[in-house]
Symmetry: C2
Subunit: 416 residues, 2 copies
């Protein structure tokens, strides 16, 4: 089953807005067994819209439009759809009541221009919009059906779920083949090492496609089943997800959007440990990452942002001699920061980062991107040196993620 | 002058990738005086590509395609363009030499499949790609010209700048009218208050369009000149930017992508002050924001992530009595955190945040979103209470930004 998407708005053609709506809808449509064959961006221009809608109507059985349903004169999607289908626009009493009700509920007076939003092509079905004033529409003849949706993502997405996907799923039928994905998230292992480990799984993946997606010290494994009915696709994927998780267990922190802090929290809680951070070059990124999820106060004590050398000395007790002899970016300082933060904050586990994020401040011996980071626990301390690529933000992010990867391994009781 | 964009790739139609390329190109084209009238996403499908390219060729004088130039059999843009223009594909010696040279430079062996990247429609011009293996192409007949670019953003963008925009600018001529924008960034003032202050400027903006774009405690003012030649547009915009900056001075932190930490750093450096942060609910976000830019070590000392109450007491010296009597989320604790971090870290200025980021942990008296934050300097201490909307990440971000806004005002010597 094939469909087209049309995203309407001058802001798209001026590059003021990136079209995230289409990607969202395309993913959900693929999961429902409907294939997007073309997506078009077009401006708020009546003549161009009528021409495009005419083309789409002639070549496609289904289409979704997004945008151009607002109350102002710029918003002409409603009129253009009506014209493309040769239908007159008429005021719809139920639609008008819904628009008026929304204003009443908020205690606002309805501007006269919003009355336009209740104009409906004759015979079209009105889709209620609980999240905004613009009702959606279903307009069709025997050969082509348009779902006409608002462009505001928080209004479009619920309408897609409740009013569009069920209709398309039913039209596609139970045997419809879908495109469905699951993602397994890993941290602390490179793309090729991971691919090697999972070689056996990949070979036996059959019709499930396996993609390795590296990004900044993490590698996602995306498993995609295409060409199978929904239940069968889900079954095949679940089986493969389990095998990938099994094959890469020490590095896996979750699936389908999980965040690494939760996996770390689980592992720390299991040990009865709390963690404290001593951050120099990351300057707060470790703390932020570790507290993304509610409940982190159970295992995150706090930290010291030891940006200036005096703070490394005064707040963490790094010996002046260590700083003078080895410098702030050194294994010795990193170890002292770990011990200092554990002792001062009374935490079983300490993490530290110290490095040169750049762009300035590098030397031949200590170039930009050089970072010492480490984790100390009652079982021992592990400190590592890395030379991270990228700009300032990239170096900091990679340093934070490498530290989190090490913390996860250590908290799980693996060799650091 | 009008142009179409075609973005090629199955990943776009499956929603695996959001198309940021088109928005980037559209913005640069608008600034060059070329108007994008349609953008189309299409899959790596030879027949569909040939059909679409035929349509575009028939209706548009100019087009840019992006993607589908890789070495694999999925990449069929090259072949489809040739077919749409009725041209045979031939191996281009110069293009082949360029592809080979790129592999040689990296010490890699060229896989035979990359030879396909040197196939060129007869008569087409080859665009060198210093950032990848896929050369671009310019293919045209008397009435329509296609710029055929790679889809990888880091390869597409430089090729757009060096090989596409200059040609289009020349074709458009000196009198071509452009769409050009500048943005003035503000923090610490709401949208309607800002709009009121700038009412006089907006009224006299004439043909420059003024848009207020609020996002999480900041409001950007976007000034757009459309329908004027480039030099005239730039002149009008500069004049308006100066008036907006003048009219909103206490809240302006920069223009066109400036970041707030630099404005804070400038103001602190002028006073000869260093700042230290005491973060509870923001847990590192203040530190990260303040150190975004190299050189921040001149005025950022460090901080304490006082997540647990024991850390507020031990590392910041918040009296146990204050915590017991008023709680961690209180004006009194916030003040003690500010004084503690100034004293312990030896900084002239201290900032603190303490609040309930949620989703759990709220009560009737202290609901989720309640945050106390403040700034202390040698001139005095200002503490504020806010109830921020949004989810956990949103509350934390708003709390951090409100604190930065206050720090900026105070460092500039304004009333806090």
């Amino acid at each position: 089953m094939e469909i087209e998407i049309v995203a309407v708005g001058n802001e798209l053609l001026l590059g003021e807005t990136v079209d995230t709506n289409s990607a969202h809808a395309a993913r959900r449509l693929a999961e429902t067994g409907v294939r997007v064959v073309r997506t078009t961006h077009v401006g708020d221009d009546h003549a161009r819209l009528v021409a495009l809608f005419g083309e789409v109507r002639a070549r496609s059985p289904w289409a979704i439009t997004m945008g151009g349903l607002g109350p102002t004169h710029d918003d002409v999607t409603r009129e253009a759809v009506a014209e493309a289908f040769g239908l007159p626009l008429e005021e719809d009493a139920a639609a008008l009541a819904e628009v008026e009700e929304r204003f009443r509920r908020h205690g606002w007076e309805m501007p006269p221009s919003n009355r336009r939003q209740a104009m409906v092509p004759r015979g079209a079905r009105v889709l209620p919009n609980p999240n905004g004033t613009a009702p959606g529409l279903v307009v069709g003849d025997g050969s082509c059906t348009f779902f006409v949706l608002p462009g505001v993502p928080s209004e479009m997405k619920p309408m897609l779920e409740t009013a569009v996907l069920p209709v398309l799923a039913e039209a596609a039928g139970d045997g419809a083949t879908v495109v469905k994905s699951h993602v397994v998230h890993t941290i602390g292992i490179g793309e090729s090492a991971l691919a090697e480990r999972l070689d056996g799984v990949v070979r036996q993946a059959g019709d499930v496609q396996v993609a390795f997606l590296p990004h900044l010290g993490q590698v996602d494994v995306r498993l995609t089943a295409a060409g199978l009915p929904a239940a069968e696709a889900e079954g095949r994927l679940r089986e493969l997800v389990d095998r990938v998780v099994e094959g890469a267990r020490p590095w896996v922190y979750g699936t389908d959007g999980a965040s690494v802090d939760e996996a770390i929290g689980d592992a720390l809680a299991r040990r009865g440990w709390r963690v404290a951070v001593a951050e120099s070059c990351t300057a707060g990124e470790l703390g932020m990452e570790l507290t993304r999820t509610a409940g982190s106060s159970a295992w995150f004590a706090g930290g010291v942002l030891a940006y200036a050398n005096e703070v490394k000395a005064s707040a963490l007790g790094v010996p002046a001699d260590t700083l003078a002899r080895h410098g702030a970016v050194s294994e010795e300082t990193c170890r002292a920061m770990i011990e200092g933060v554990r002792a001062r904050l009374g935490a079983e586990v300490g993490c530290a980062t110290t490095g040169i994020a750049g762009p300035g401040g590098g030397s031949v011996e200590k170039p930009v991107g050089l970072v010492w980071y480490g984790v100390g626990t009652p079982e021992g301390t592990e400190v590592r040196r890395s030379l991270f690529p990228g700009d300032r933000a990239g170096v900091r992010r990679r340093a934070a993620l490498a530290t989190l990867a090490l913390l996860l391994r250590v908290a799980r009781g693996g060799a650091a």
